[in-house]
């Protein structure tokens, strides 16, 4: 029986703990300074918008941990003493371990903007961020959000739900255009504006200005425009939350360096989730994957290793999803913002401007590479199988009905999509 200590009670750490418990009697301790109990970070926005209470974001009831003999410590780890096999907490007490797992997640990026630490400036990542926004919201007439990604648009939606005016600064020419192909990105731009969000493309933040009390009163953009505001949301991505590890001797890059077994350079210390950085990226993935699903999968894999079944982290086909205000987004396989040289992209958009599909495939072999869908739900299982079996784009086109996951009675746009594809790409080859 080993003594396993996990730092971080997010999806990675908690998945790991649950799976270790399923398969062993190891002592498990989860340490977190953020909250006593695991909650779903992705649901913070719904708490602010009043769709849920914080307790609803907790996937397990409070007595779950005791029942499963998982110890919870609600304290901050300040240091890891690798050679003593212990961690130091903020009250100077120590916890020893046989195996240590770092699952500390991310923190919002701050790029050294003047005024970035003022009152009224926040990211949206931790529960504490939500509490800060909740505190400032009643006196906020306008908020400025900096950074056009998934968190930025969530924060915009949150603030709009309480009728707070929002100016949304996006550095790129179009929303999330580093990830989304042109047509999709344009569609989301329009949807943002439809929700009365003041979208400023090709605009970045230069400076945040304080009032006499040290609270935000305005920002200045790179175009020297001053925008009066009482709240600034910094949502320009996240980076691994690893500052406390600087003197630990654990090899760090942008994150905690790990191999495919999720081991760090120090024996018996592992890292999973947002804070882990692969020495070499897996397939076309990024070395650091700050995504819910990858955190969970790393937890699932490492639990095997720690219970006697050494298992490398070997993610399957890429998938992800998000929701942009009212428009749901799903992706399976790879669809790049700009198709690679040997790729073609097929783009279909519904006339109401709220549904779209992009399919990437190989020019020569017509092999299916990936799909993005907006406002249309697709079946994960279907595309996972298509990718594993290396099917062609024509196969996917023929089996669109099987692929759809929309609720019953929804209008299927299958025929329209197929017709356009046939038109554009020289006939539908039989499969």
């Amino acid at each position: 029986m080993e003594n396993i200590v996990i730092i971080g009670n997010g999806i990675a750490g908690v998945t790991l703990a649950r799976h270790i418990r399923k398969q062993s009697k190891h002592t498990i301790t989860i340490i977190s300074s953020e909250t006593e109990y695991f909650y779903s970070r992705t649901a913070l926005m719904y708490v602010f918008m009043g769709h849920m209470k914080l307790e609803h974001t907790q996937p397990y009831e409070n007595d779950f941990w005791k029942k499963n003999n998982i110890n919870l410590v609600h304290k901050r780890v300040t240091k890891v003493l690798a050679n003593q096999k212990s961690v130091v907490l903020d009250d100077d007490s120590k916890i020893t371990f046989d195996k240590l797992v770092l699952a500390t997640g991310s923190k919002p990026n701050k790029y050294g903007w003047p005024g970035q630490d003022l009152e009224g400036v926040t990211g949206l990542y931790h529960k504490q961020d939500l509490e800060a926004i909740e505190k400032w919201a009643p006196t906020t007439k306008r908020a400025v959000i900096v950074g056009g990604g998934l968190i930025g648009i969530e924060l915009a939606e949150m603030l709009r739900s309480r009728n707070i005016a929002v100016t949304f600064l996006v550095r790129e020419q179009s929303f999330w255009s580093g990830v989304l192909p042109f047509g999709e990105s344009q569609m989301i731009n329009r949807h943002i504006i439809e929700h009365h969000i003041d979208l400023r493309l090709d605009t970045s933040l230069k400076e945040i200005i304080a009032d006499e009390n040290g609270h935000v009163k305005a920002i200045i953009t790179d175009k020297d425009e001053t925008i009066a505001c009482e709240l600034v949301g910094l949502t320009a991505g996240v980076s691994p939350n690893i500052d406390f590890l600087k003197e630990s001797g654990i090899e760090l890059g942008r994150g905690v360096k790990v191999n495919r077994m999720l081991e760090t350079n120090i024996k018996d210390i592992y890292a999973i989730g947002d804070c882990a950085e692969q020495h070499e990226a897996i397939d076309l993935r990024r070395p650091i994957e700050a995504v819910w699903y990858t955190g969970r999968m790393m937890g699932e894999a490492l639990a095997q290793t720690l219970t006697g079944n050494p298992t490398p982290y070997q993610p399957g086909h890429w998938f992800n999803s998000a929701k942009f205000l009212d428009i749901e987004y799903q992706t399976y396989g790879w669809v790049w913002a700009k198709p690679k040289e040997d790729e073609l992209q097929f783009y279909w958009e519904h006339k109401d401007g709220k549904k779209a599909v992009t399919i990437a495939f190989h020019k020569e072999t017509r092999a299916f590479i990936g799909i993005n869908t907006f406002g249309i739900r697709m079946r994960h299982e279907f595309f996972d199988k298509v990718l594993t079996e290396k099917r062609t784009v024509d196969y996917v086109m023929h089996h669109l009905a099987e692929a759809q996951f929309d609720p019953e009675f929804f209008t299927s746009h299958k025929k329209e999509i197929q017709a356009q594809f046939t038109n554009q790409f020289i006939g539908l080859k039989t499969v």
Binding site: I11, S40, T42, A43, Y46, M49, G50, H51, M52, H56, A137, P138, T139, T140, K141, R142, R162, N163, I164, A165, D198, A218, D224, E225, T226, A228, W292, Y293, R296, M297, E300, A301, Q304, T311, P312, Q314, P315, G316, H317, F319, S321, A322, K323, L325, D326, E328, Q330, R377, M378, R379, H380, E381, D384, F405, D406, P407, E408, F409, F410, T411
Partner: protein, 530 residues
Amino acid sequence: MSNSTTNKAITSSQSNPLNSIQKLGLTLGFLGLFIMTLAFFNVNFPQKAVWLGIAITSILVGIVTYARSTYLSKPAGISNNGIFHKSLTNQGAIAWIIGILLTSFYVVLYWFPSFLGLGENGAENTGIVGFFDPLSYFLNGHVASQWFVYGTFYTVAILGLGYKFILKYRHNKYQLVRTISVMFFQLGFAFLIPEILTKLNPELPYFAKDIKNMWPLNYYFFEDWHLTNMLQGGNLGMFMLFFGIAMIFIISPILTYFYGKRWYCSWVCGCGGLAETAGDSFRHLSSSTQKAWKLERWMIHSVLVMSFVTTIAVIFTFLSNNPDLSFITRNQFIYGIVAFLVVFTGALYYFKRNDLDTDAKFTMLSLVAIIIISIAINFFSGNQNILFIDSYELRKWYGFAIGAAFSGVIGVGFYPLLGNRVWCRFGCPMAAILGLQQRLFSKFRITTNGGQCISCGNCTTHCEMGIDVRSYAQKGENIVRSSCVGCGICAAVCPRGVLKLENGDEEGRINSNEILLGNDVNLMDLLNNK
């Protein structure tokens, strides 16, 4: 160069103030209610019919106006903003006031109808019941009863708030079709057709004419007076009797097999209809804790046993007292029931013992309890005394405790406090039976979409049956629960497209995965198929 954007608003606009159209809607709606209130306090309107028409129209137009202004001013999509901030929808003072008013209304309705103005012993109706006389005459040819008043209110609520629900979920065709269905069945089958049939057959004794309201939800279907009235009710009575029995033994099992119990609970049923429309604003108040689930199992199965026993007891007494009226003896009846239940329960156990979850086991045990009690009835009962209790007394108590107090007073009165499906979840014997079939013999399931769940909890929070949907979805497991009424709201509120209500092969319907889709293929094979 310097330009700037300043704030023009004087205060933060956090509170969403009403716009003028919404105010107009509220005014119209509450003026209509106010007219009703005046009638309740015995204000004697000249031209009752006109004023009643004005009142009902005003309420409906008010709801429509308010709803259109509220929902059509925003892009279509999930609109649950602020439900946990508002007094009405978060068990605040307004919720309590409405809860108290509704509960009091039910108490008066069931036990003190004279307070509503029901003329007793041939006296003329006054008050609100009297106010409805013209409409009642028009529809069924009689003076109004408190039930007519209630039925009208009920129908108006389903129609008005059903329209509101449709606007709220106008991006979701499943919700649209389903809501039109409950509105249609309420207006046609529960309200208009029975009234009109009564008018066309004024000579017949009373029996239920709402063919979709089946036993055991309609707990008096097999009571002696009701059976007698149906038997003496000419062709219509015979039709209702045979259709009622066909509903229970043929139509319902077939539909439940193909579509799950949703065909009834959230598409047809009147209780469900009110819960889905008027109760929609309170669905998130249904507790999804393990504790609530335990309580639910005990309560719904207790009611199930009581409803069966009461019915069996009443028929038993009927057969004992009227051996000449019927074609079977009480012995044949009891052993017929026992044989049927033994075969039914035994077959279920034999074929489906691997699919039984705790809910299903409870239901099976309830059936066994019913078998035992039935046999005991036969051995230890006289004609009237069933297990030393008067069977008519038993039925009276069932009617009081379950039929009135539970389904009405608590079931609807407590909407704003305990959620909109209290009755369906904790009390409805019909739901228990359909639930057993749904779990074991049905094509229906809610499919979980691979590994896409982010555990956000929207599905669990907004499940009116208090099912912890997330606990299945985050394991990549399909949701095959007895209590699921198939309203489809979990799938609607899911931000990642994870849930889909489907009817499909029974193969792989109940699944359970250790490792979710998207991870290492070998690891999934190793752990999921062991």
